[in-house]
């Protein structure tokens, strides 16, 4: 089946910043992304879990964007200022996609 090169960008970011991040993605012309819930984790600031939590202060989400390789740089440039002072981890993986006309 015909596949096309693409990048899978996975952004783990604190939940409070989700809207700011997706707004920034939108401004950078990235309208395709998917948000996955995160139930817990651990980092330099220690472990955390969403269990029984009401407030949104402790918690993260995973935002996954599949983009054409040439769209990667604008995406990262848009994302960076949002994450700058905030908790967030960005990874970029080479991947292949079906139906590239959608991207």
């Amino acid at each position: 089946m015909k596949m096309h090169d693409a990048k899978r960008v996975e952004i783990l970011v604190e939940a409070m910043m989700e809207t700011r991040l997706t707004d920034a993605l939108g401004r950078a012309g990235v309208t395709g992304y998917t948000v996955l819930p995160v139930s817990g984790g651990s980092g330099r600031s220690g472990p955390w879990s969403r269990e029984g939590q009401v407030g949104r202060a402790a918690g993260m989400v995973a935002v996954v964007c599949l983009v054409r390789p040439d769209r990667l740089d604008p995406l990262l440039e848009a994302v960076f200022p949002v994450l700058d002072r905030h908790i967030g981890v960005v990874s970029v993986t080479d991947t292949q996609i079906l139906r590239a006309e959608r991207f």
Partner: protein, 324 residues
Amino acid sequence: MGDVISLAGQNLISPMILCFALGMAAALARSDLSFPEAVAKGMSLYLLFAIGFKGGVGVAAHGVDTGLVLALGAGVVLSAGLPFVAFGLLRVLTRLSVTDRAAVAAHYGSISIVTFVAASALLQGQGIAFEGYMVAVAAAMEAPAILAALWIISRAGGRPDDSPGLWREILLNGSIVLLVGAFAIGWITGEDGLADISAFIEAPFRGVLCLFLLDMGLVAGRGLRQARGALSAGVLGFGVVMPPVGAAIGLGAGLVIGLSPGGVALMMVLAASASYIAVPAAMRVALPEANPAVSLTLALGVTFPFNLTLGIPLYLAVAGAVAG
């Protein structure tokens, strides 16, 4: 004095307090007992709706006078002023950075709605009346403290993120909107509205509160377990010193504006309590460099249990003695 002790004693063996203690003990013992996030949020939505609605019905029943306006004003002033007191006290008691001190100060200027709910449940259990609009005062006290803390940090050379988006988020955050909205609905529909849904918002209220406190005990205990070490003795000390200080200031405010004894007690409770929902979220956005473990553990793990067990009966007794 004997009364205070007996009231505190009674309070300590109420299902509410024991549920909180059970949760805390389970978390400290590393039990896997836990509430799903959705269930915890569901209970919190229920409690906010019920307490707001009943407050509105109270205003509808007793009419509204200048008292409401005065109380709202007093609440705003307290919320904006208490962070300065907290900030100063933290400088004396702790070695926290300016950023962390400002963040903690914002939490203590703002309020904890569950502490308010627990206190009004206790008042109701004792048959002590209070102004229905105190729930609106609680809502009004959420945000000014954040403004004060950002002002403090700016003056100290900090660089808070205070974009306009932040202000919409703070003023329209879910718990304020639900509390104020339910208050308005209760006010508009009055006793008829209450009769319509009292089997939902009154009868099971205390039971839901027990389960919610159990969950809060679990979260608080887990926070304490994970944050051991992050909290110095001075920081812990602040967590039990600040509430009575705030309560004393709240007492003054309540007396000046002429609230009923029950209202004075609730004003003290509001001033003494520390936010653990709205402010932590706002601080993550506005002051990301502040360590959330410090302020959240302090508010939820130290001050909340202190108020729940000893603070509330104390404030009640003082309000009864002074304003009664």
